[in-house]
Symmetry: C2
Subunit: 244 residues, 2 copies
DNA sequence: CGCTAGCTTGAGAGAGTTCAAGAATCGTGG
DNA sequence: CCACGATTCTTGAACTCTCTCAAGCTAGCG
């Protein structure tokens, strides 16, 4: 965003804001530069390490985080047994914390996958912008609607018991792609199984099979941010291609 | 809503508006009576028969429907094979069509379950209200957030393969309850299986078992709007009580 | 070097699917 | 009013994918 080059307190150079720039859902779209300036917006440039908790379930809402790099998983717990399920994954350009802002408290556990960098904006500022700039609020609402659509599609694509795990895993991996690249955000088997609602063992067997077929390359290191993958082949599996 | 007694073109008596009255998410909360009056709001009182399509996927967004009685199922299709999945069920007080308003076109197939009555409001009116009354828009955004939370919880509660179908069916039925009554909206086995993502046969076996145990009473007629159920017993099953 | 967390691999059991046939119910029209 | 076809639902039996339990492996870190 242009104005951030002058008003963002965390401003470090134009490259930092690429994630927001030119996107349809750029966070501050619809707000005139001078209006933002008048707010004396306090935007911090923050980062979270791999596995770090960004906020916990029921935490009070204080800030939004616009993701610049990395991914964030949003998890909930099913029942009293500590089994967690991941209900959404946010990627660069997405906003973490809208749920909390609207509900008052956090609706998920939010955890960084890989190293996450982004812009942190106080909720009070966002609320004020919403009240003074209905167009800005409308954009936020559209983004919320977009999250809802994605969650519904997630439900449809990934949680159908009658679709074999291999196929659902392929669909999941395609969703976890880094933009249009051939890289896939690196999630643990535990996470992958929590998303598809299969056991860790089954997830392991499927991923091992994929790796053996050359559908994806796993570097040994757990701290790697990405898998490399054969996107076209994954798409074939996702569409129900027979096992070779 | 008070003002509807004077401004709603469909006004038929105070009983008609009970569904909206006094609820936290009453649709027009946050808008002064005179402001609504100034818009010359055209609200129609409409009804849909059992099984009637309210809108189809990709239809252009034209109106919202605030449900007064009955339920509406929102469905999507998984893949090219005509297998549909129901991703959300809307009940009295809920708003049908917010997705379409924000995305431009309908995101689901919306079908009436039982007879549906409600208030139909042109999208243009709602958009104007949003721009002129940020507080009203904020309420709508909260409602959208609420839908997102429910969908996520739906995902967590109903789509976990490791939870037996009997348990998930009990949870589902409890979600389909008519308010706090002991009545459950009457869905076909096809619909129930499309929600839990199990086969129609499995759904039949589970429902037959429930009926045999006295957990619910099925009237013979398909056109009945409700099942009667033993809520406490269903809650026990939903929590994982052993099969008797 | 040893410990821990994450991953792999195996064999048996079970819940749900699939395929197949039949029963009940509904709406329609004679 | 009843017969008819079309849905919708029921029931059975074999199969299969995934879970479960159990053991062993590997990588990463102090």
């Amino acid at each position: 965003m242009q104005f951030m080059s002058t008003h963002c307190t965390a401003w470090h150079g134009i490259r930092e804001c690429r994630a927001c720039d030119g996107k349809e859902n750029a966070f501050f779209a619809g707000v005139a530069h001078q209006d933002v300036a008048a707010l004396h917006v306090q935007i911090d440039n923050v980062s979270y390490a791999l596995g770090e908790t960004i906020y916990r379930l029921d935490a009070p809402a204080e800030t939004l985080l616009v993701i610049r790099t990395g991914a964030v998983k949003l998890a909930r717990y099913a029942g009293k047994d500590a089994k967690q399920r991941i209900v959404r994954v946010l990627k660069p350009g997405d906003v973490v914390g809208m749920d909390a802002m609207l509900a008052g408290t956090a609706q998920h556990h939010a955890v960084a996958v890989g190293e996450v960098r982004g812009c942190r904006i106080p909720i009070a500022v966002v609320q004020q912008l919403c009240m003074e700039h209905p167009g800005f609020q409308w954009n936020m609402m559209r983004q919320l609607q977009s999250s809802l659509r994605e969650t519904e599609q997630w439900l449809v694509d990934l949680t159908c018991g009658s679709v074999p795990a291999r196929e659902r895993m392929a669909r999941l991996l395609l969703r976890l792609r880094d933009g249009d690249s051939d890289r896939i955000y690196h999630f643990s088997l535990k996470d992958l199984s929590a998303m598809l609602c299969i056991t860790l063992e089954t997830a392991s067997r499927v991923i091992t099979e994929f790796a053996g077929l050359g559908l994806m390359v796993r570097t040994g290191k757990h701290s790697e941010q990405f898998f490399s993958a054969d996107i076209a082949a994954l798409q074939r599996v996702a569409a129900g291609a027979p096992a070779p």
